[in-house]
């Protein structure tokens, strides 16, 4: 190889890495964009594979129209107006014959989503789920559904209340700085880039009447849903993961806890200027309920 080519190759490697690391430094420079204290409910431990010694935590969150028993009638806050503000083309009338195939072709778009921790969004989610349970109970009285459905719905509400993530998507927009102005509390709201899909619900009719067609948005994924745990903070999590594996409870993510299991750890996560996270602290949580349960047995 001619010498310039060799140096070009080496320079490419060094320059690319310098560029990446400079971006990391920039993200972590000055005051974090958000600092948030989460628990195991919001950050699930990843499953261990022998070939991969890294540990990461998966960010778990809720959005409108999420959960089988928490489905609302209508689009929620990610409605047609919000979708149009995000750049989706919603000009085809919903009653048009071509509406269904046109809207099904809509491509996902990048948007910034506001996630709220243990606030009104979380309370609304619980309220909606409870309302859904009441509705199911009435349907059972009219013998329209089986009692098993109600039992499952109540179990799901228990799981949500006791062990479910309290992080809920509450707003979206194209300008993250504008969203931060609207939600200035950096310890309760995180503004993250996400992929948003447009969903079309056609008109339906049943015993309760005619339900008109509508559009709603669905937050399909975050660019980086997992947060890597650096070596300085992994010992506690590694111990918990090993206990899980020995007890035979390991699944892809240890999110299917026992009903009486409290979160075992808390995590402090910083989000930087580029809205990329890093873990700054991991602490073991006291487990009074867990101990009382064990003592009882």
């Amino acid at each position: 190889m001619n010498r310039p080519g060799l140096w070009l190759g080496l320079a490419l490697i060094l320059v690319t890495n310098a560029f990446v690391l400079t971006g990391v430094a920039y993200n972590r420079s000055t005051e974090p964009e958000a600092v948030i204290h989460l628990t195991e409910r919001e950050l699930n431990l990843s499953f261990s594979v022998e070939e991969n010694t890294g540990i990461s935590l998966l960010l778990v969150w809720h959005q409108p129209q999420s959960g089988i028993y928490a489905r609302v009638e209508g689009p929620g806050w990610l409605d047609q107006a919000k979708l149009e503000s995000l750049g989706f083309d919603c000009s085809t009338p919903l009653t048009d014959l071509e509406a269904e195939w046109r809207y099904r072709k809509a491509l996902p778009r990048k948007a910034y989503v506001v996630f709220e921790y243990e606030g009104k969004g979380w309370q609304n989610l619980l309220d909606t789920t409870e309302q859904n349970i009441e509705r199911i109970a009435h349907q059972i009285e009219r013998k329209e559904r089986s009692p098993e459905v109600l039992k499952n719905a109540r179990e799901e509400l228990d799981r949500l209340r006791n062990t479910g993530s309290r992080l809920v998507a509450v707003d979206a927009g194209s300008d993250p700085f504008r969203l931060r102005q609207l939600y200035p509390d950096r310890h309760r709201f995180i503004v993250l880039p996400a992929e948003v899909n447009l969903q079309y619900v056609p008109q339906t009719s049943n015993k309760t009447g005619i339900h008109h067609a509508y559009l709603f948005g669905r937050i399909s994924e975050l660019p980086r849903p997992e947060i890597h745990v650096p070596m300085t903070h992994r010992s506690l999590l590694e111990k918990i993961r090993n206990e899980e594996q020995q007890a035979g409870r390991a699944s892809r993510y240890s999110s299917r806890w026992e009903k009486d299991q409290e979160p075992r750890y808390s995590v402090v996560v910083n989000y930087g200027k580029r809205r990329e996270p890093w873990i700054v602290d991991v602490q073991l949580l006291p487990a009074p309920k867990r101990e009382r349960t064990q003592n009882k047995s």
């Binding site: 080519g5 690391l21 660019p223």
Partner: protein
Amino acid sequence: MNDSNKPRIPLNRAHAQQRVDRIKAFQEELEQLEHEHNFALQDEQRHQLERHHEKILAELAKLFDVDTSATQKQMSMGMRIASFLGALALAASVFFFFYRIWGLISTSVQVLILISAPILAVLGVEIISKREKYPYFTSLIGLVAFACFVLNLSVLGSIFNISPSQNAFLAWAALAMILAYGYGLRLLLVAGILCLLFFLSASVGEWGGMYWLSFGLRPENFLPAGIFLFFLPAFAAHSKYPDFPGYYRLFGMLTVLIAILILSHWGEGSYLMLPPMDVKVLYQLLGFAVAGITIWAGIRWHWQGVTNLGSTFFVIQLYTKFYDWWWEWMPKYLFFLVVGLVAILLLNIFKRLRSHLAQASA
């Protein structure tokens, strides 16, 4: 023949191998002629010719490590396959080794290893290339260097939770191309072409307003990239590596044809705001047209790989149409009979075309 005339030295190994193959063919044809037509050179002419050819073959073998016999050619093919498989295995080993140890080392050590690995591998490529004429081991280490660089950027992204970007494909393509053109490595050229393809397609998707991670949802994102790659060699001379343009054309056209084939069966996946059935028909017609043009271009400019590719896709398009039209209602024996008869018809058409071309060139 003047013995003092020195043979002209070819520019590269490909030309050298072609010269060796021509000499061997000439020797075999001369022997055949002597046997069939009682034709013989004078002894002095024969000796001069043999000495001249021996000299050329020795010189070329020394300079370019060419294959001077059929056995050597088979051995070389085996070595190339072994080099490829070895490279894949070593690349996988690098990946798994790092994932095995990274959780046990500090961030700074992780970063150091990730940056050092591709640098050391590239230096290794340079050192090894000086020790061999044909790049068997160079190709192997080159692929490992590429794998180390892929690991480098991927894992840095995981460690620091960086949002993924399509620019990583551009960086990977750049290194692959530098190694390919620096050392004549075909495998690295293919890796570079594929990375460039993904970068261009993802960028086209992003410019169209979609989130780049979902660029695969629209096969049309691949069309501009495929066309660009196909025509790229026309703007850059490849005197040192005359076989490289063939790879660009092959992968460029393959990309275009696969995208069209997918859209001819999946109308929902098109940017075009037309009913899915209309889109399917449009791309089916386009598929036949593009396959036909590809065959013509391959014949016109003597691009054999391109001709074969066009022919293959033409047949695939045809047979998938037959399946769509007749599979459900036609008895199976009749379906396969029709397909076989169409194959015979195509064979006759190509045979007549071949004769016509032979007459035209005569």
